[in-house]
């Protein structure tokens, strides 16, 4: 059991990296606290697996340090880090039985055979593998193999952490849900640090207390599912979390607010001030306004601060409706209640300032003074 700390860590698969694009992991600092259940969420190829392999020591980072409980482990071999990792594609030792597979990590550290039996039985029970224990692992189905693979990760209870690299990819949807619940239970029972890599936000939020969102080799936000939804720290988080993702509009600064396509949105003084200081420092022209489809409110009649837009398309998803709106040249999504009587004509959209996020160079402008 350990706290895992990454200090100015970076990794490149190239021997002579020339620019940031050569890095799979860009310089980052991060801490996984002891006993937490974490998810590492991000699109394919953003460096999630690389990061996991660096933590477990299968990969040695090109720069920076990995610390377990404050002790640098860069030079420590995977074997001695005492860490468990479950891979995306099941790895079973096919010459052994299921029992021997599950017992393998224990026998390797010379645990007494009585304890091996008890532990294997316990894990087999959790994963519903009791009936398969005597079977040869080569004759299992893909999801049985993955359960065995997972079982090997869970069988030691003294590990520093358990890392899951998209472990449920090959598993049936209904079983997926069950196994995720099981993992959560195991976590509560043994209080082991768990890091769960996935590209599925639902999977991440059901498993984890805190989610790290990764994008282009960096953790762009680390927070609870709610924080990721309500306060996306990076445009990518806004876009990636939520379905559909956040509406993002390129805007220009004006004296009283922001404008786009000839329309102006007025902002509060607090926000304007923060915005001014954020953009002045970088003198950036890359400014975006973002609002989640859930937070756009629609009016039939014109009102103060509401912008006229036309409804282009209505998707009825049963529990709610997704509207595609045209506002100037922008196309926006809005989510409304199921009983919303949508008309094809013109509506007025207003953007409550509480939910309107401004991004400079893709990063959120934090409102000073009124931070929730």
């Amino acid at each position: 059991m350990a706290e895992i700390q990454l200090k100015s860590l970076a990794h490149s698969y190239s021997n002579t990296p020339s620019g940031p694009e050569d890095y799979a992991i860009r310089r980052m600092n991060h801490t996984w606290e002891q006993g937490g259940a974490y998810a590492l969420l991000g699109p394919s190829g953003c460096g999630k697996s690389t990061l996991l392999n660096i933590i477990s020591g299968l990969l040695s980072p090109s720069e920076g340090e990995v610390l377990f409980d404050g002790v640098k482990v860069n030079e420590t071999d995977t074997r001695d880090r005492n860490i468990a990792q479950v891979f995306q594609f099941p790895v079973v030792y096919d010459s052994m039985t299921v029992f021997d597979n599950l017992a393998f990590p224990l026998r390797n550290q010379k645990v007494s055979e009585d304890k091996v039996k008890a532990k294997v039985a316990e894990v087999a029970d959790i994963l519903d593998l009791q009936d398969l224990l005597k079977r040869k692992a080569s004759n299992l189905t893909a999801d049985e193999k993955q359960k065995v693979s997972m079982g090997r990760g869970l069988v030691r209870d003294d590990v520093s952490a358990i890392l899951f690299d998209e472990p449920l990819t090959v598993i049936d949807p209904h079983l997926k849900w069950k196994l995720r619940r099981k993992l959560k239970q195991i976590h509560e029972q043994f209080n082991i640090t768990m890091v769960y890599v996935t590209h599925d936000q639902l999977e991440a939020s059901t498993f984890a207390d805190k989610i790290a969102v990764m994008y282009e080799g960096q953790v762009v936000q680390f927070g609870t599912p709610r924080e990721l939804f309500e306060q996306p720290a990076h445009t990518f988080v806004g876009y990636f979390i939520g379905s559909p993702g956040m509406n993002l509009i390129d805007v220009q600064l004006t004296e009283k607010g922001i404008q786009f396509d000839g329309m102006e949105l007025l902002l509060s003084d607090d926000l304007l001030q923060s915005l001014a200081s954020a953009s002045a420092s970088g003198s950036s022209t890359n400014i975006k306004a973002g609002i989640r489809p859930e937070f756009i409110c629609l009016q039939e009649q014109p009102m103060d601060g509401a912008l006229p837009c036309s409804v282009k398309h209505i998707e009825d998803l049963g529990t709610h409706k997704v509207l595609t709106l045209e506002l100037g040249k922008q196309s926006l999504k809005a989510i409304v209640d199921e009983d919303y009587q949508a008309t094809d004509g013109q509506v007025y959209a207003c953007f409550p300032e509480q939910w309107l996020k401004i991004y400079v160079d893709e990063y959120l402008v934090e409102v000073q003074g009124s931070e929730q």
Binding site: R79, F87, Y93, M96, F104, P105, N108
Partner: protein, 288 residues
Amino acid sequence: MNKTENNKAWLLVLPVFLLVAFSAIIPLMTVVNYSVQDIFDQNSAYFVGAEWYKEVLQDPRLHDSLLRQFIFSGSVLLIEIPLGILVALMMPTRGAMASLSLILLAIPLLIPWNVVGTIWQIFGRADIGLFGWGLNSLGIDYNYASNPMDAWFTVLLMDVWHWTSLVALLCYSGLRAIPEAFYQAARIDRASKWAIFRFIQLPRLKNVLIIGVLLRFMDSFMIYTEPFVLTGGGPGNSTTFLSQTLTQMAIGQFDLGPAAAFSLIYFLIVLLVSWLFFTTITHLDKRK
């Protein structure tokens, strides 16, 4: 499913049948023919039944040479298989060194057998051979031409030099076919080097090892050229193996009948041992 019967299909099998007939069945049948008859010339052949077989099976010369043959093949397998695995495990996996070691290993396999015999014949000589001279200079009395133990040692060493590469190359290809994920999982599971070898590498080498053992058994059991060139079967009969005994019988003494009976028995022994080995291994696998 409906099967259509069409006897014309047999015609398609005919070419293969003819090929096998000419390359294997007809020559073999000729031997069978010789083994059951006493032939003096083209016009006088007498059917003798199992006579030659009885004679051959009671021949002490053959018993000795069969025993030598089994000891030789057994030693070859006991040395070359573990050594081949060891070499394969120590070979570099990538880069120029990997290619270089592959080339070096392939060289002995490319040398004609009688040349291998000649190389060692000279190499082992006490007067002009580096190996023989070296051993004698170290104070070891070594002479493969007069001492049976030295002759055996040299014949075995020569075979190990010649053929361990084959086992090593087979195992090397088997090892390269193991996905990296298994080694990663094993490191995560804190497996020792030995545990990795025992539970991951060895099981996955099984198929190439079956081929390796079969090839090395059959080849070593039929060995002729190299010991013939090196020692000529001597000193005495100490390195006379089955094929050389057979050749002496057939060509030296022109006892075609017993020689034919003997070659069939020889053939059946190779077949039987290979079959026993193969079925035992595959049965063991199924039972688990």
